[in-house]
């Protein structure tokens, strides 16, 4: 009994540490005071500011569009890479497996800086095209797409593909109708990992972005250096919106998988 209380208390304290700042910021995002801890009145001014200030909406849309572009490219590149490497001979597979590991273990600062030196200093690419930035984000995200597809390929029954070929399907048809449907969960989770990695990135962005473009991360860091309280409190609202979206997504995802498990166990009981 005692042990249970101590365990629950520990979990509770750690959760409090992890969530207290985010929750208190959420509470104050609905108030008209710029100081946490001060008393204030209920107000939606921060949310109105967040969604009507052009500087903020452009920054948010820019971040989302970059994340989406990055995730689409990374998902296609990573999935093709995984399928190709999985069926390749040792040399090619060894190269892809090893090189794929580099951006994962490497520090983002080094990845960003080295890409900046290659693309902008050596090749003289124009930052304002946003291409170096997009390349940087794809470098960051693709290895994780690759890693989320590979396990699905390993689980797949290879005979199905060969059976499709024996029944007259072309390799492309067999790939589309047999392989892709079986690895699609890995592809989808890879896509979402790519989106969140791009949304969360600061270091690769700062080294490859044009001076006038900001993502949420670089914008927040700049805003904390300045003393504009209006922008600061609008960012509290942004933090709250993102927190609620992610919490809902995780909880819904969780109940969905639980329901799936439930359905499966029902079938087993029958």
């Amino acid at each position: 009994m005692m042990k249970k209380i101590v365990s629950s208390a520990w979990l509770g304290m750690v959760l409090l540490f992890m969530y207290f700042p985010i929750v208190i910021l959420a509470v104050y995002s609905f108030m008209d005071t710029p100081t946490i801890g001060a008393s204030g009145h209920f107000s939606l001014q921060n949310y109105i500011k967040l969604f009507t200030t052009p500087e903020l909406t452009e920054m948010i849309m820019g971040t989302l569009s970059l994340a989406l572009k990055c995730a689409i490219i990374a998902t296609i590149l990573g999935t093709m890479g995984a399928i190709g490497a999985f069926y390749s001979k040792k040399g090619m597979r060894g190269f892809v497996v090893a090189a794929n590991q580099i951006p994962i273990v490497n520090a983002d600062v080094v990845t960003g800086f080295s890409l900046c030196v290659l693309l902008i200093v050596v090749l003289g690419m124009d930052k304002s095209t946003l291409i170096p930035l997009l390349i940087g984000h794809v470098v960051l995200a693709t290895p994780f797409v690759y890693l989320s597809v590979i396990p699905k390929l390993k689980q797949m029954d290879n005979h199905l593909y060969e059976a499709a070929l024996d029944l007259g399907a072309s390799p492309a048809q067999a790939l589309r109708k047999i392989v892709i449907p079986q690895i699609i969960p890995g592809i989808i989770s890879g896509f979402f990992i790519a989106v969140t990695l791009s949304l969360d990135d600061y270091f690769i962005t700062i080294y490859t972005k044009p001076a006038t473009f900001n993502t949420i991360s670089t914008y927040v860091v700049n805003a904390t250096r300045g003393s504009q309280t209006e922008i600061k409190t609008a960012l509290w609202a942004l933090s709250t919106v993102i927190f609620v979206i992610i919490l809902l997504a995780v909880l819904i995802g969780n109940t969905m998988t639980n329901r799936k498990v439930g359905v499966k166990s029902d079938i087993n009981e029958i």
Binding site: W10, P21, M80, I83, G84, V109, V110, S114, I216, I242
Partner: protein, 263 residues
Amino acid sequence: MKYSFSRQQLSIPYAVFLSCFVIAPLLVIVYYAFTNGEGNFSLANLTGFFSSQNTVGTLFYSILISLATTCVCLLIAYPVAYILAQSKMKKKTVLLALFIVPMWINFTLRVLALKEVLTMLEGNLAYHPFMNTIIGMTFDFLPFMILPLYTTLMKLDKHLMEAAYDLGASKTAAFARVALPLSIPGIVSGVTMVFLPAMTNYVILDMLYNSTYIMGSLIGSYFNAFDWHSGSMISIVLLLIIFIFTWSSNGFSEKEPDREAIL
């Protein structure tokens, strides 16, 4: 013969991409680290790094920050992962998700929230820069420590603990001599996921008004000064540290199968 040929071809775009944007940048910074402004071979950047008190001091300060962050994360996360892994409650996955969710929220927004709360509690952040940095890093990296520990502890065969009790071990002894050694791979991967980012994530220091440099800040400042040669040398030093770290931690996970074979 024809079908396997077409499937293998799919890896070509990614292999080309990796060569151009992962391998090539590394080769370029190696070149820049060992040349000077005129493009001649030079060891000036290397000797400059080790002879300057600033840079060597920064290296030690980074290691200190990383060590402290890793220890604090481990001490907080291990009991959490252990309690969660042992618990038999129904909604365990939801509780685990709560510990992992912060990982998906933009870290600058989370550090912003922490900064506001710390300012409220301390009044002025400038009085405790080191402590605030450790709190900030722990706040940011904790989920990355909890997850690998939980995964390893879940795989732990419960019968081994029962066997230890049956053979007369006390709870502490069973934990110290069975659970703890078997969770070493999880500890190692958690430590890797916290120690290395803690050496380079200088944004947390910036946001919490700690003006001391860590290794990452050096690259940032050379980038701002357009000093690609010195920046590349810092990158090489970091790459070396990362390589040594990854190489030695791989040694740990490779030992696992042997131990299972003995059991």
